[in-house]
């Protein structure tokens, strides 16, 4: 599905608002939108909301062979999924240019800043190392996916615990999660991306651009930084030129923002830790605010099963009876070797229902031949007058008044024709 393009009118409006040093969602120039971090039940699973932009990150691990060039290093793998859930123009399975750019930037920010100690992921040099995989799913795109994804990725990485391993000689034992407490990864520092959008040839600058602002901006600068004021990555895209002072000013803003976000992540991690240790409820189910009109919650519902078991037995009994009947009916009789018959002597179901009626109507004439019957049936429809034999029907008194005598026809009619709906004038009745 295609995305709705931004109209010229909207574009002009957003630009004019920015020129007035305001923003369309009422924020100040350097304000971030509200950040919400929620952890799942699984370790290394977190969902980050930045305003309405939403990203889910999940860290997982497996034991693999190391790269030949680095036999003592574990592997960190990142995968960004721009799911069509986020925006109708995203296609699943195929990574767009935007997706590739996002993936590369995050790799540069997290992998190449060496925030994760990959050497500690080595189990047996040259043979077995841990591969850590970060899957990032974009759930809703309302601008600045990158910052949201970088927060989600690093938080998930810190939150994650891998199974403990013991090596004795050649034997490697990977302990189950219940067996021995899983161990956290050694994360040296937490790099976080901060995006700046530039408008009007770098004249105006905005932090954390939202979707509309991202569409009309001239260019974008991304600074990846940790709380120790170390720049991990810096990228400028778009057709614009920046002065040296502008870059410096942005990096100073980034320092403040990174401090704030780092603290937020730390408190979120602390909260989750205490919730887990105290046995309180945690996870996505708990994070949904229940007071809202769009949310609904029910507690454990008890399903009344007594009636069900009763009725169930009844239906089962019935079915069994039916099955038994069927089995009696469908008994196979072996005629000779290789030939058997099923259901011999049952009622013939091939005859038309009209035939049955005919037979029922004529109980007073028991010795009618089959040929005769067929003829009668034929007459019932055609009322043919070319019959050689004269038909005889016994009528009782109640039928008498219904019979119309009309001269000109010599044949008698079957009883069926006497029924008011079917009775036809022009028929003569012979009585005995």
């Amino acid at each position: 599905m295609r995305e709705t393009p931004l109209s010229t009118c909207e574009r002009d409006f957003i630009l004019s608002v920015i020129a007035d040093r305001k923003r369309i969602d009422g924020r100040q120039t350097y304000d971030y939108r509200k950040i919400k971090i929620v952890f799942g039940i699984d370790r290394g699973c977190c969902s980050v909301e930045l305003g309405k932009t939403r990203v889910l990150a999940q860290v997982s691990c497996e034991v693999t062979e190391p790269k030949q060039t680095r036999p003592t290093d574990g592997i960190l793998f990142m995968n960004v999924e721009l799911s069509p859930m986020a925006c109708p123009s995203f296609e699943s399975g195929r990574l767009s240019d935007e997706g590739v750019e996002l993936n590369r930037l995050l790799e540069r920010c997290i992998k190449e800043s060496r925030c994760l100690d990959t050497e500690s992921l080595c189990i047996v040099a040259g043979q077995k190392v841990w591969t850590i995989r970060i899957d990032i799913h974009v759930l809703n795109q309302e601008g600045n996916i990158l910052d949201c994804a970088s927060i989600a990725a690093i938080t998930a990485l810190v939150h994650f615990r891998r199974p403990d391993v013991t090596v004795s000689g050649e034997d490697v034992t990977i302990h189950e999660l219940d067996d021995r407490d899983p161990v956290p990864l050694s994360v040296h520092h937490m790099p976080i991306c901060v995006s700046f959008a530039f408008f009007d040839q770098g004249k105006f600058l905005l932090v954390d651009p939202e979707n509309g602002e991202e569409k009309v901006m001239d260019g974008k600068m991304v600074i990846g930084m940790n709380k120790h004021r170390e720049i991990c990555t810096l990228q400028i895209t778009g057709d614009m030129l920046l002065l040296k002072e502008q870059v410096l000013r942005c990096s100073n803003i980034a320092v403040v923002k990174v401090q704030e976000i780092s603290e937020l992540i730390q408190t979120a991690l602390e909260n989750d830790k205490t919730a887990r240790s105290e046995g309180r409820k945690y996870g996505f189910a708990e994070s949904i605010e229940r007071e809202q009109i769009t949310t609904h919650h029910t507690d454990i519902t008890n399903v009344d099963m007594e009636d069900i078991t009763k009725t169930n037995h009844e239906t089962m009994d019935e079915e069994e009876n039916q099955e038994q009947e069927n089995s009696e009916e469908n008994k196979v009789t072996i005629l000779e070797k290789g030939t058997g018959i099923v259901g011999e002597g049952g009622r013939n179901s091939w005859l038309m229902s009209d035939d049955d009626e005919d037979v029922k109507i004529e109980p007073s004439i028991p010795n009618k031949s089959k040929k005769h019957k067929q003829k009668e049936k034929k007459e019932a429809y055609s009322f043919g007058d070319d019959s050689e034999e004269e038909e005889t029907v016994v009528l009782d008194e109640s039928d008498l008044h219904m019979i119309k005598k009309v001269p000109g026809s010599s044949d008698s009619v079957d009883l069926q024709s006497l029924k008011p709906s079917k009775s036809t004038p022009g028929k003569k009745k012979k009585k005995r």
Partner: protein
């Protein structure tokens, strides 16, 4: 983190509707700890190769949390698609596409039924015309032959068979059945009856959530 409960109880359910701003309809459903997010678009434009001239094309994408979709995920996707297609009155929107996207958030048992239920809620949220609502309920049979409704992951692992039924909201007839493991005809019948009874509670849940959502006019 599961709370103790008897085998005849459904875990607490929570839903959030319309929280994703970009999609036409969205729903998060949690059943116990199992969480699924569903969003949907449509009826909208559809690729010409997939266009059907007399009805809407229903497409379902299921995304697992870890890695790329595997064969089992494709099977799940197919099952949800077939179920949704029977429910949607697709004849009303010919030559359009209805896209449903499901994202696994947390799998703590009875996952398939949570997927189908959240898809139904997303369809409701997007006001797509439906024949009836659908309610999915999973149950499992333990090695002693006991039936547990809405099992969590631990109970599923201990069980010998897992059965998922989808019922319609009108006559509570079966729409879809998905089973794994071995069970007798009798066990199947009793599971069916139990799940049918439980599905009535799910439909009530839908009704209450929609009532709450529509209780105020803007």
């Amino acid at each position: 983190m599961e709370v103790d409960r008897t085998s005849h109880e459904l875990r607490p359910m929570t839903c959030e509707l319309g929280h994703l701003s970009r999609s036409d309809g969205s729903a998060t459903l949690t059943q116990g700890d199992t969480t699924v997010i569903t969003s949907m678009y449509g009826p909208g434009d559809v690729r010409i190769s997939k266009e059907i001239i007399d009805k809407a094309t229903v497409e379902v994408t299921y995304r697992p949390k870890i890695g790329l979709p595997k064969c089992s995920d494709k099977l799940k996707e197919r099952l949800i698609r077939n179920t949704c297609e029977t429910v949607i009155l697709s004849g009303l929107h010919p030559r359009t596409g209805i896209d449903i996207i499901l994202q696994e958030m947390q799998n703590s048992g009875s996952f398939l039924s949570c997927c189908i239920n959240s898809a139904c809620l997303a369809l409701l949220d997007a006001s797509i015309p439906l024949k009836y609502l659908i309610a999915a309920v999973t149950c499992c049979i333990s090695d002693k032959g006991e039936i547990t409704l809405d099992p969590d992951l631990k109970q599923e692992k201990k069980s010998v068979a897992i059965l998922t039924f989808v019922f319609d909201s009108k006559d509570f007839n079966v729409v879809t059945v998905s089973t794994s493991g071995s069970f007798s005809n009798e066990q199947f019948q009793s599971c069916l009856m139990a799940c049918r009874e439980a599905s009535k509670h799910v439909i009530t849940f839908y009704r209450e959530s929609m009532l709450k959502k529509l209780s105020k006019s803007v």
